[in-house]
Symmetry: C2
Subunit: 389 residues, 2 copies
Amino acid sequence: MVQIYSDRVLQADSSFIKDILSLTEVEDIISFAGGLPNPISFPMKEFQESINRVLQNSGDKVFQYSGTQGYLPLRQWVADRYKKRFGMDVTADDILITTGSQQGLDLMGKALVNKGDKVAVESPCYLAAIQTFALFEPEFLPISLEDDGLNLEELEATLKNNDVKLLYTVPNFQNPTGLTYSKEKREAIFEIIKKTNTVLIEDDPYGELRFEGESLPYIAGGKSENSVLFGSFSKTLSPGMRIGYLCTKSKELMGHLIGAKQSSDLHTNVLAQYAIYDYLTNNDYEAHISKITALYKQQCDAMIAAMEKYLPAHVTFTKPEGGMFLWADLGEGISSVEVFKRATEKKVAFVPGDPFYTNIKGAGTLRLNYTNSDPETIVEGIKRLASVL
Amino acid sequence: MVQIYSDRVLQADSSFIKDILSLTEVEDIISFAGGLPNPISFPMKEFQESINRVLQNSGDKVFQYSGTQGYLPLRQWVADRYKKRFGMDVTADDILITTGSQQGLDLMGKALVNKGDKVAVESPCYLAAIQTFALFEPEFLPISLEDDGLNLEELEATLKNNDVKLLYTVPNFQNPTGLTYSKEKREAIFEIIKKTNTVLIEDDPYGELRFEGESLPYIAGGKSENSVLFGSFSKTLSPGMRIGYLCTKSKELMGHLIGAKQSSDLHTNVLAQYAIYDYLTNNDYEAHISKITALYKQQCDAMIAAMEKYLPAHVTFTKPEGGMFLWADLGEGISSVEVFKRATEKKVAFVPGDPFYTNIKGAGTLRLNYTNSDPETIVEGIKRLASVL
C-alpha cells in the first residue's frame, strides 16, 4: 500500500498518551492526571463585562481580520509587565500574541528546526513540547533536571559537543516536576549558553503562580538575542480563550515567527485579545492572582501532607513553590505504568513518567496535579494511591 | 556566521507580498487589494446576544481547556449542513474545527507533506496556500486553471507522471480568479483522481456567497476517503473569530489531523465556537447570507460595468457568480507589477498576479476585490486604474 502520510506524523506515536488520558476520564475517578486550572481562576463576571464593553466600543474591529502579531495595546501591556516585574528592556514590537503558548512551540519548530537538527530538552520534559518538536524530526538531547535546574556539566558538554539549535526549559515550577531553577543556576546557564548560537526557550506558563519564595529573573529573557520567552493567560484567566504570547529581542527571529504564524492561522482570535486587555486594565489582576495562589498553596500543602502521611518511605517527591504539579519517584525497579494500571482500578489517576522522557521507558516517576481537586479529595486520592504501592 | 533558522523559513521570501501590502495601506488609497469581507456580514448585535447567552448558560466550560476536535454541537451542525445542502453522508466525527480554515492548510501540510513531495496546485493559486505549503518544502506542480476548472489533460498527465501527494483546489469562486468549476469538470476530475492516491483538498471559504447560478456538488467531498473539504465562517459571520472547519471521511487522516492540531494550538477558542453555534441555532442564517450576497452582487456588477466602460479593450476579465474577487488580464507583454507602481501613485491598489503563481514572474494578470468598497468608490477606482494602463 502506498503511504500517503508524512514521516513526521507516522513517527509520532501518541497512542500511549491517548490511552492513558482516556483512562483518566472514567467517571468518579479522582484524577491527578490533568493539567486543568481550577475554575476559581476564571473571572467570569468581570470577563463578561469586558466582552460587552469591547463589543460596544470596538464595533466591527473585533469581527474583522486583524494583524498577525496581535493587538498592539495587549502587546504593550505584556511588555510593560515584563518591565515592571523584571526590569526587562522590551517593547510591544518584541511581543507576538500566540494562540495559546502551545502555538509558540510549533512556531519555534517551524522557524528553527530542520530534520535532524539537535534540540536539547530537560529530562524529564513537558510532554507536549516533546510531541510538538518531534513533528520537526529533530534529534533530542536530554539534559538531567536537578532540584535547582539543569545539570551544568551535562549542559556544557552537550552544547560543546553538538551543534544545538534549541534548548527548551521551563524555569519556574517546571512541568512535570514542579521544580524551579535557582538564581545561581540561572546565572551559570546564561554564562554557558551565551558563548553558543543555541536559542534558549524559557517557557513560563506558571510563573505568576508562585505561592512561596521570591520571583527570580529569567535566564536570558530580555537580555540575549538568542532567547525567547513564552507566557500565557491560560493559567491566570482562561485556557479556553487560547491567548499566549512570546517575547524575543531578535528582530530577525521575530520576523520569521510572524511569517510562521501567518501561515498557521493568520492571527489569534481578536475578541479574546481585546477582552483580555480590557479585563487587565479594568480589574485588579494582582488580587485575582493572589486568590489563585492562595488556593493552590492550600491544595499543594494538602497533597504533600497526605503523601508524607500515607505513602511508603521509599517514595520521594518534589515540594513546589508554585505552579500546578509535583513529581514523585516510586524508587528503583518500580514501573509507574504498572502502578498506573492498579491505581485506575482503585479510581485514582496520574500521568506515569515515561512520556516526559525522550530516552527512558519503564520509569518509576509520575506527575501529580493538585490544582483541580479540593483538599479532601486530594487526601482520599493519595490514600488510594498508597493502597496500590 | 552560523545559520540558526530553518531552511523552510529561509526559502520563504514573502518580502514582495509584504511590500505590496504595505503600499496598499496608504491613507486615502482605493484598495481592491485586500480580501476583507464587508462589515455587513458581521451580525454584531445578534452575536453579542449569543455570547451573553453562552456566558450565562455554559458557565466555566468556555473558559476551561476543551477537546482538540472542537465543540460537538458545532461539528454536528456543520455535518448536518453538508447533508442538507449536498446530501453528503458525513457525521460530526468527520468534522474538525480549525482556527480559521487557514489552519487547515498547515495541518494538511503537517499530516501529508515530506520535503520534496509533490503538491499540485491551480495556476493561478490562492497565495496563502502556496506560502503555507512552501514551509513543508514540496515540489509544486502547477496545473492551468481554465474558465470551467482545471485543464483535464494537464491534470491527467501530472497525476500519471508523478507521485502527487496533494491536489489543492478552490472549486467555487476561486481565489484569485473568481472562477467556478463546471459540473462536468467536477465529475471528470473525480474520475481522474479516484484512480490515484492523491489527496484532494477542496477549499471552499466562499461557497455560501453565490449570487448567480446554482450550487454545484463538490468534486469528491463526502464521497472519497482521499478527500478533504475546508469550510469557514469567516466570510459569512466573522473572520476575527477564526472559526473554520474541515471534513474528511478518512478516520486515519482525521486522527493525524487531530494530532497535528493538538501540537499546533491544543484546540480552537471555545467561546467563539459556542457563540457561533448559538448564533446559528437562534437566527436565520440563510437570510443573513442573502443580505451579504445581494450586496456583493451589486458591488461585483458595479465593478464589471466600470471595467467594461473604462478599461481598454485588450483587458479581459472574469465574471464571477459569487465570492469576493475577479481577475483581469492586461494582455501580452504588460507586467502588472509595473502597472501596480503607477496605480498606487494614482491612489488605487490591487494585487499583481505574480505571487499567485509558483512558476511565473512578470505576469500581466491581477486580482481585484469588490466586497469592501461601495459602487461609487469602485467606479472611481476603476477610472484611476484605467488612467495608468
